[in-house]
């Protein structure tokens, strides 16, 4: 019974966080509501018995992505930038138009319907009872045996991203070197 309560509470958190996320106009607040939403998703995973996935969700999305987003928002500039952004958004065709909202909601409904039909079929097939074995050992084993190629390829991708980030962030060559202050 406890997992069901946690599941309902987490689902409510996802729903409320999602609604607040798109309805607020403040980007920083949006990030915080995104945090709430993602935390709810982690709660859903945990209540379904996938603890490793839940904690990975927290470590990747809350410890990484949300902090990265907050940094990115802070580095984008002040009020002038935002007003300029609004001007551009208003100029762009079909932004904030009535027909845009119509088309957007129709596409959203189709995607939602299709996905829910798919997951409904999936839920009927999959047994939802949790396994008693610790799931992270299975994940680790399959990563290093059956899915080794995919694992290595993604590690190459990440290495490339790391080197690329280092090259982009490399300071221009200047004559006098000053200590950086953060």
């Amino acid at each position: 019974m406890l997992p069901e309560i946690v599941l309902l509470f987490s689902a409510f958190m996802v729903f409320l966080g999602g609604i607040l996320l798109i309805s607020t106009k403040n980007l920083m607040h949006s990030c915080i509501f995104l945090l709430m939403c993602l935390f709810g998703v982690a709660g859903v995973y945990a209540s379904l018995g996938a603890e490793f996935l839940a904690v990975t969700q927290i470590i990747v999305y809350i410890g990484g992505i949300v902090i990265l987003m907050l940094f990115a928002v802070m580095l984008t500039g002040g009020k002038e930038f935002i007003s300029r952004l609004h001007k551009v958004l208003n100029l762009a065709p079909l932004m904030g138009d009535k027909s845009t909202y119509m088309k957007g909601s129709i596409v959203g409904l189709i995607i939602f319907g299709g996905l829910s039909a798919f997951f409904y079929q999936l839920l009927k097939v999959l047994p939802l009872k949790e396994q008693q074995v610790s799931d992270y050992k299975i994940i680790g084993h399959s990563l290093l045996t059956d899915n080794l190629l995919a694992f290595e390829l993604s590690s190459f991708l990440l290495l490339g991203a790391l080197i690329g980030a280092a090259i982009i962030a490399k300071p221009e060559k200047v004559s006098e070197s000053k200590p950086t202050d953060i």
Partner: protein, 386 residues
Amino acid sequence: MSANETVIDHLLQFEFFQKISTAIGSQIGVSHIWVWYMVALILVAAVITGILAAVGGFGTYAERKISADIQGRFGPNRVGPYGLFQVIADGLKMIGKEDISPNESDKFLFYLAPFLCIFGVVATFAVLPFSAGLTLSKTNVGIYYVVAISSLVGLGIFIAGYASNSKWSLLGGMRGASQIISYEIPVTLSIMSILLLSGGLSFEDILANQTAWPAGWYIFHNPFTFIGFFVYFVSVLAETNRAPFDLPEAESELVSGYHTEYTGMRYGLFALAEYMEVFVVCGLAATLFLGGYHVPFDIGKGTIFGDILQIGTFFAKTLGLYYVVIWVRWTFPRLRVDHLMSICWKYLTPIALFNLLGVSVWILFFDGKSILDLFLSAISSGPVGH
């Protein structure tokens, strides 16, 4: 029920607890066991949080007493015997203070930030192994969960710095976020080298291979874990913003850093979160490297008495490390910002990576045996060669 075993499952083994639970259940007519289960879980969690909040509060007292001792002063000695009630006086003062928020601040984030900090710390108590019985949840991803959930503290510091709309706070918050994110890497790498030895992410797995005696602790398992302990300890000092790494709240440059604009109990929550986080990381160090709650000869194993002994062992080790943390603060001067970053990225991270590799090679070559095992087997089989 999920596969998780909680503290209530442990308590239900004892007869008097069963009696109490059935008595209360029949009194209020609760037929569902899970309602009582949840209430009991919440009660135990509240008690643990209360006790650790008191530990955090007395941390401030300990800090002032120990610093006074180091500097040849008396420290707080007016309120109560030995100034012990200074904590209560401070708390009352903070609650009584006016709650001020800056005019142009982002009110929502400003009020949220201290709670993010305190939540990130209190949530780690859920898996902290005080004793074999008193562990709120024995989830099989314990240490991974602690590493993940404590990142909320850094987020809280960052949000506090941003929302205050003050230059000092913003600088402190930026420093705090970059420092905490950077120092998470050596901390996690040192923890990973221990996880290689234990072969599991839960605290039970980590403690299963350790013994009560120092020879069986992971810190003395091989040379790499010995170095790893110091890498871990230095890095957590930085991660909890303790001196000599307290750049986010450097008084001499930034007034008070990220909590400059906070008054009263909102400031108190930041201070409390910091002291409790120090306790948590010291507890983790005791569990990962120093044998955790193991009591010599397993005295009273499986009884309430044994649990109390184990809690005492855990607290003794943790508070010993807590003393070292305070001692370090009043001994070393604060680092410069760029030195802080170069220590993390140029020294601690490579050393931690080397340790990880070293532990893996050790496991491969010596079959996961500790240095003492190898020594003993060398002695016993030594004369054969001659």
